[in-house]
């Protein structure tokens, strides 16, 4: 043993990715693959990974309807057992509308079911709004 400090494994370190998407059909396959890869590396249990995929599906299904400029930015940040998904470049009322669109008959609001925390915040860069979801691994 050299006695040197043990380096923290990468998979427990903060992992962030920013994805900006213009065309609708690309959003779901690209976002779902990036998020699943990030969460797999963070050693999330399969049921919570599946929940996160549901949230991604719900976001991708409707986000473009509420984009301010025909494109959306998704920021993915995994750290300390949580995933923060930030959907940016939405129109002024777009984040609230996107949240409303996630409601399914007989199921309720998918995003409200899956996320531990949901927030609608102003997006200062675009002048519109952003939807923030925080999902926990446990």
């Amino acid at each position: 043993m050299s006695g040197s400090a043990v380096e923290e494994p990468r998979h427990t370190a903060e992992m962030t990715a920013r994805i900006r998407l213009v065309s609708g059909p690309m959003a779901r396959p690209v976002l779902c693959r990036v998020v699943s890869m990030v969460l797999t590396r963070a050693e999330w249990p399969i049921d919570r990974l599946d929940d996160a995929m549901l949230a991604c599906d719900a976001l991708c299904a409707h986000a473009y309807d509420h984009a301010s400029d025909g494109r959306i930015t998704l920021e993915v940040c995994a750290r300390d057992g949580t995933l923060e998904l930030r959907v940016r470049e939405l129109a002024r009322d777009g984040a609230a509308a996107l949240l409303r669109d996630a409601r399914l008959p007989g199921v309720g609001n998918v995003l409200e079911h899956v996320a531990e925390r949901l927030a609608i915040e102003p997006d200062e860069q675009s002048g519109g709004s952003q939807l923030v979801l925080v999902i926990s691994s446990s």
């Binding site: 962030t16 994805i19 213009v22 690309m26 396959p29 690209v30 693959r33 990036v34």
Partner: protein
């Protein structure tokens, strides 16, 4: 041309796998053939590996950005960094095959800087025709 997709990540080796997965998603959305997608993945991975290995001084961490523009018959992927630029490196830890491989797999490669002076490797892939048509090594 406004990109259809941009992906920004820390320039770490393990993030190249995320880029490869994202390209898989792009391949699904665009119905790119598996052989062509393999070529695209290899070339883009090489460009990203160059960023990870060479763009930033040892001990410092920077960003890499991958953008993709699509048209009816071609895909243009650009890999950018904010680092030291492309220059000869005699002490390179790699085999030095990266750019040659990219050139073999892509229809066109441009090395240089984008409009904001980021170092950029821009690769154009034809979405028509056979994989690796340039050198006749189709599988």
């Amino acid at each position: 041309m406004r990109p259809d997709i941009e992906l920004a990540l820390a320039a770490r080796a393990e993030n190249i796998a995320i880029v490869r997965h994202a390209l898989g998603g792009l391949g699904d959305a665009l119905a790119i053939s598996p052989q062509k997608l393999d070529d695209i993945r290899i070339a883009v991975s090489e460009a990203c590996a160059n960023v990870v290995l060479h763009a930033y001084p040892p001990g410092s961490e920077g960003q890499m950005e991958i953008s993709a523009c699509t048209s009816e018959d071609e895909l243009v992927v650009a890999v950018r960094d904010w680092g030291r630029g492309i220059r000869p490196r005699p002490d390179s830890p790699g085999l030095g095959l990266g750019l040659s491989m990219i050139a073999a797999l892509a229809e066109e490669v441009q090395l240089g800087h984008d409009s904001e002076q980021h170092t950029e490797v821009r690769m154009t892939f034809s979405l028509n025709g056979s994989s690796r048509a340039k050198d006749g090594h189709g599988r």
